[in-house]
């Protein structure tokens, strides 16, 4: 506030009062926000973890435990922190904490917006064990068949990944690396295939040699209980 203009601003509150009221409001609002954050923190974290776990369990059968791996300095390291980025994948383990396979994420632009895919991969026989669409805005009734059409999703179960997979017109599938595209949603089908091919290319040289996979470090009692 300009003090020279006091004659004009006799009615106006001092700047100190303005700052004070803003500060009080900010303080109270901060308290409320932190309170609700603390209150909901555990539930939200658990929800997210459960969602991710369910997706991983879906694409990698027989998995009981999982952990996150981060590709850093040319090797895979186990991470325990929250959050996920493009350089991270999941490793799945069975009841006896023996390594089973990887669950790998990939994304690419689809018909409307970016499509996010998670797929399971067995390095022992280079098979894709399953595919799950994590996020997409494809056209309802058409492009969304990439996750609603179980025939299409089923094609990614035990799909050998010796070379790039290819989406072909429905009914013309002749090779084992081919996928029947969804009629009327060819673009969306091809996007899924493209994402998997790209992610495969990116990750296959990075994965640990067979038998050398990182051991299960995290042991969450909760996971164990749920899976039994």
């Amino acid at each position: 506030m300009n003090t020279t203009n006091t004659t004009v601003q006799t009615q106006e509150p001092s700047s100190r009062r303005l700052v004070m009221s803003m500060a009080i409001a900010g303080f109270i609002s901060g308290m409320i926000i932190i309170a609700i954050y603390m209150l909901t923190f555990d539930t939200i974290k658990e929800n997210k973890a459960r969602e991710l776990r369910l997706a991983v369990f879906k694409v990698l059968p027989h998995v009981s435990h999982m952990q996150k791996l981060h590709f850093k300095d040319n090797k895979l390291v186990v991470v325990k922190a929250d959050g996920m980025d493009d350089e991270m994948i999941f490793a799945g383990y069975d009841k006896d904490k023996k390594f089973i396979g990887y669950a790998i994420q990939g994304k690419a632009p689809g018909f409307q917006d970016t499509v996010h895919v998670l797929y399971g991969y067995l390095s022992s026989n280079s098979n894709i064990t399953g595919m799950e669409i994590l996020d997409s805005r494809e056209t309802p009734g058409l492009g969304d068949k990439i996750f609603k059409d179980m025939d299409f999703v089923g094609e990614f179960i035990n799909l050998p990944m010796h070379k790039d997979i290819k989406a072909v017109k429905k009914g013309t599938k002749t090779h084992e690396n081919e996928i029947d595209a969804i009629t009327g949603a060819t673009i969306s089908s091809k996007v899924v295939v493209k994402i998997i091919n790209q992610a495969f290319k990116k990750w296959s040289p990075r994965l640990a040699e067979q038998g050398n996979e990182p051991a299960l470090e995290l042991y969450e009692a909760k996971v164990n209980k749920e899976s039994q």
Binding site: S29, P109, T114, I187
Partner: protein, 192 residues
């Protein structure tokens, strides 16, 4: 590089902020009566969007990783003060520019496209360059939609549109048709 082009095209045409995400509808329905005004408002908004993308990135990288719960409130405060700051500096640096853009700046603060941009950029974890391209695309898309809308509205002003239809209902229907026409861009540059 490819990705940046796609982010731009996608926000400009396929996922246009106004016509597909419904962001910035207040000015789109309210202030789109005149072509000249709409174009200028579009430019001013683009400018603020780019600045916001920059601010959001700074906040996300340096502040919000420690306090994610302050995201919304800090975005709001930063946007409001940025707009105020821009308004003041334009007024000082270029009175001519202020004359043409100045009156729109307060309007922009209440434009949900700005906050929407910050939130979308965060949700998609864009880095700085991606965020800036995203903001440019969003701004260009907003301007494009505004200008098309204003052209159509000026044209229909002198036609005998039934009185009952005129007004917001009519604007919404035009917007719906535009949005339908933009559906033709679906999948642009994604399938290769």
């Amino acid at each position: 590089m490819d990705d940046l082009l796609w982010i731009f095209i996608s926000t400009l045409l396929v996922n246009n902020f106004v016509l597909a995400y419904f962001l910035g509808l207040c000015p789109f329905l309210g202030v789109s009566g005149h072509l000249e005004t709409s174009f200028r408002l579009g430019l001013a908004t683009t400018f603020v969007l780019v600045i916001t993308a920059l601010c959001a990135w700074i906040l996300n990288t340096y502040v919000l990783i420690y306090a994610p719960y302050l995201r919304l409130i800090s975005f709001i405060v930063v946007i409001a003060s940025t707009v105020q700051f821009i308004e003041m500096s334009i007024k000082k640096l270029s009175p001519a520019l202020f004359k043409s853009l100045g009156i729109f700046l307060p309007l922009i603060t209440t434009n949900c496209a700005i906050l929407g941009l910050a939130i979308f950029a965060t949700n998609r974890s864009y880095d700085l360059v991606e965020g800036l391209v995203f903001a440019l695309g969003a701004g260009a898309g907003f301007t494009l939609a505004m200008v098309l809308m204003a052209g159509i509205r000026e044209e229909t002003e002198i036609m005998d549109v039934p009185v009952l239809i005129r007004g917001t209902a009519f604007n919404l229907i035009i917007a719906g048709i535009l949005s339908m026409a933009f559906m033709g861009f679906a999948g642009l540059f994604s399938s290769t």
